[in-house]
């Protein structure tokens, strides 16, 4: 891992911690796509996690919250996840593992404007996520890219 990579990782780690402490989300996490090999997407940084299971999850493009964001490059905003038709381990692992009820996720783009990761934040209670929540995340992300 080069210096540049390490610097990038610490930026993401800081970003997760900052959002978790400054906003009222119960869980904040970033998934990144590996640049080599099978290009697996994994959850790498998290704050507010209840256990370490998120580290084992490998995302599938097009499936689940982060999978959809990776596939479409569009933000994902969904409330009442526990009543969602597709909420089970196979299709929504992070929701299950962290018992999220409402979640918002936005794409992280690389220098080629390709989706290279996902920034996700969510609640474990009745607090709802809105389009505004995705703008808030976007603000933080843009700010950390520029800094």
């Amino acid at each position: 891992m080069g210096d540049e990579e390490i610097a990038k990782e610490s930026v993401f780690n800081n970003l997760v911690q900052t959002i978790y402490h400054q906003e009222d989300f119960d869980f904040v996490s970033i998934a990144l796509q590996e640049v080599t090999g099978l290009r697996k997407i994994r959850w790498r940084f998290a704050a507010g996690n209840t256990n370490e299971r998120f580290r084992r999850i490998v995302l599938r493009s097009g499936i689940g919250i982060a999978g959809l964001v990776v596939r479409t490059g569009e933000p994902f905003i969904e409330n009442d996840l526990e009543h969602h038709q597709y909420t089970d381990y196979i299709s929504c692992p992070i929701t299950m593992v962290e018992h999220l009820t409402n979640a918002v996720a936005i794409p992280i783009l690389d220098s080629d404007q390709l989706v290279s990761g996902v920034l996700l934040a969510g609640y474990r209670n009745h607090q709802r996520v809105t389009v505004h929540s995705s703008h808030v995340l976007q603000e933080y992300l843009t700010h950390s890219n520029n800094s």
Partner: protein, 342 residues
Amino acid sequence: MLESANWVEKNFSETADAIFIFQDDQLLVSNQAAQTLQADYDLSTTYITELMQAVVKQQRTKTDDCFNCVVKGMAKTSVPLTLKSKDGQSFSFFVVYSELDHAKKVYSLTLKSEALMQRMDQLAQQRKLVQYVNRAHEEERKRLSQDLHDSIAQGVYSAIMGIRHLDPATSHTDDAAFNHQTKLIEKQLYETLQEVKGMALDIRPSVLDSFGLESALKALAKRLEENTGIAIMVVSHNADQLNLVEDVQTVLYRIAQESMTNAIKHASANEINLMLVAHDHRISLEIIDDGSGFDVQKHLSFNGHSLGLMNMNERVKALNGVFQINSKIGEGTTVKAEFPIA
């Protein structure tokens, strides 16, 4: 009319159930089966009439907590009865009471063999199981079709759209945009390829055919671990050099798959251990989870909710294996399958 009366009489005398008709508690007429029964079991008619009278009286009592109940009025009064034959074997029956003429005090008692009823139950169970298996097949197809549509078709479609956007003219003028577009298409196709491979693995692991059960279980465990975040360990002993029959191999693989899915879906397990151990003349597979567990007795009997367990059991038994489930509420579950090997 005369002919149909004959048929009714023939049916009465030759039916498998023993029928007695009484008037004033005195035997009026009985059929062939009833007479054989009386001879075989030393059955005294006063015994069953008294037994029945007691039950009938009890059920007719108005102080019963269901004196107005519709169901009670509809159901015929019946009691279980066990008879010992002359050579000491005991057989279970149901005695069904039906009143024929209230004024003349005529009623009939029918003895149905319980063995026969059990056989009927078994048949019904078999039918339910077949239905379950069919439904599972259909569900599987539905899921595959959904996956094909949602994931693979979408991936291919967006790659096609991407290629349409590849304007040859821009390749000379705007190098960066052209590069970006090709990278995007490559990424999409790459992801689609991964999905196709994953689906192929889900349907039927080729690893099973080419590298054997142990490798297949490891691949399955890894895939489930990645999908769910649950730690899954595969431990095997002497299992790499086995020449298992294909059927046994498939059944063991499917049991591992179903047990793990159960542990993940229903028991919210945090950790699953798989143990594949080959002994001299048998091979055993254990799937141990630390989930919420369940009451085995409740689920092993036929209640319509545990057809998956029953199906696993049937599949193992069909290949002369032994299938066991140990579980207690709050203490996790262990599923074990064992087969004899040469």
